[in-house]
């Protein structure tokens, strides 16, 4: 675990959606990271004022590089700068990666059910990428249930489509505001029936990772416990804020 502040260089930026951007950072001395971890980013203004926020790592890279996907928050202090102003070649102070709980262990053969609300997909994508890259191959089946507002607000769409061609990964989208044109799907918020129809069955003893806005995670975890999934198999990461219910 790296717990001091280190200087990272921004080596790539990709617009992920209209409101989110992926930053690729190089952190000299870093030797990989665990899928699900986060980093703290510290910005300093010219007069010395600083602000720190935590961002989940999206990548599963072996060396000294990692990627963050940052969603611009309406009232954000740090995220607008990272989404609009940071450029390749800039330096950022980074602490971490940190975290030993909300992480997937490639040696664990359990089936894995991932559930994401919006930007909560970021640490789950790190797990999906680690799973796809695991060597020797992980045979744990992975499922992702991904609640998005609209088709163009989902992160990593093309890559998820590609990875889902593997029999070891299936991806189910729930569209809350706008469904794909011509799909015939009516947009709706995730409800208990949709959730339970989409996730791995109780008898598979899946390991759950749920990440998203607080109310989303709270509600989904409650539904799962009430449906008989053991609470100790459900790991959650609640992004702050008072996000909408599913």
């Amino acid at each position: 675990m790296r717990t001091g502040w280190n200087v990272a260089e921004v080596i790539g930026v990709t617009q992920e959606t209209r409101t989110a951007r992926t930053l690729r950072l190089r952190l000299p001395g870093l030797t990989g990271h665990r899928p699900g971890q986060h980093v703290d980013v510290r910005l300093t203004a010219e007069d010395g004022y600083t602000a720190v926020r935590s961002y989940s790592v999206a990548s599963a890279l072996p060396g000294d590089e990692l990627e963050l996907t940052v969603e611009e928050l309406d009232d954000g202090e740090v995220s607008p700068y990272l989404v609009h102003q940071v450029a390749v070649g800039d330096q950022l102070e980074v602490r971490g990666p940190v975290g030993g709980w909300f992480v997937w262990d490639p040696a664990d053969p359990s089936p894995v059910q991932l559930i994401a609300g919006g930007s909560g997909v970021v640490p789950l994508m790190a797990m999906i990428r680690a799973h796809a890259a695991a060597s020797p191959g992980s045979t744990a089946p992975f499922r992702l249930l991904y609640s998005v507002r609209s088709p163009d607000s989902g992160y990593y769409s093309a890559e998820l489509d590609e990875l889902a061609r593997s029999p070891l990964l299936s991806v189910t989208y729930v569209y809350t505001r706008e469904a794909p044109a011509g799909s015939g799907i009516t947009p709706h918020r995730l409800d208990a029936a949709t959730l339970l129809a989409a996730v791995l069955p109780v008898d598979d003893h899946p390991a759950f990772f749920i990440c998203g806005a607080t109310a989303f995670v709270e509600t989904v975890a409650d539904w799962l416990v009430r449906a008989g999934y053991p609470a100790d198999r459900i790991k959650t990461e609640r992004y702050g804020g008072t996000g909408s219910r599913p």
Binding site: Y49, G100, D222
Partner: protein
């Protein structure tokens, strides 16, 4: 001074002397939990203090509410960098709960419904510094925030204020609890920024 990001101005609300280093103010009350929220009915709730001689001091919900209640206003500081100033709580001081407890131990482990644990030195629980809180802002404490009752140790990072608390175990030696075993600091003083190992 760190690396300056040209064009970054921030919110400039760091001049509050009540804000520990590296913290920012939030008006909301974020929820951070490692798993699903346990839902414990008050009639199945109890609080225990277990000493090194296996003596168990036990309070039911009604017995707990019959104890002297304190109303306190405290600043709270989460390790994820948010701080909330002037939060109002109602609960029972640990001084009250420890009145009849005999122990030579200097350390405790808080245990929660749902399996969460966190270690706190006894000195940090006594002397008007900690409570078992069951009301927040004049309202019954919601399950998501640790209700029926949570430990409240506001001078340490908030992960030490165990939600859904059900007991304290006296320890002869300090031991890591849940987050402390997952990379977080054994003590967790916000003013010294003791976030991680």
């Amino acid at each position: 001074m760190g690396i300056v990001s040209p064009g970054f101005f921030g919110r400039r609300r760091r001049d509050d002397p009540a804000l520990p280093p590296g913290q920012y103010l939030t008006e909301g009350f974020p929820v951070l939990s490692a798993g699903p929220t346990p839902r414990i009915a008050p009639d199945e709730w109890e609080f225990t203090i277990t000493t090194e001689t296996d003596q168990v001091h036990r309070w039911s919900w009604d017995e707990f509410l019959a104890l002297k209640q304190d109303d306190v206003t405290q600043d709270i500081h989460c390790v994820t960098s948010w701080s909330k100033l002037g939060t109002s709580w109602r609960g029972v001081s640990l001084d009250t709960l420890f009145e009849s407890v005999e122990s030579d131990c200097e350390f405790t482990m808080a245990h929660s419904y749902g399996g969460y644990t966190t270690n706190v030195p006894l000195d940090d629980l006594l002397g008007g510094k900690a409570w078992i809180a069951h009301e927040f802002d004049g309202e019954t404490l919601e399950p998501a925030h640790g209700g029926p009752a949570r430990l409240l140790v506001p001078h340490l990072y908030f992960w030490k204020s165990a939600k859904w608390v059900r007991g304290l175990e006296m320890l002869r030696q300090d031991e890591p609890g849940f987050w402390e075993s997952n990379g977080y600091h054994m003590y967790g003083d916000p003013w010294r920024e003791e976030r991680y190992w």
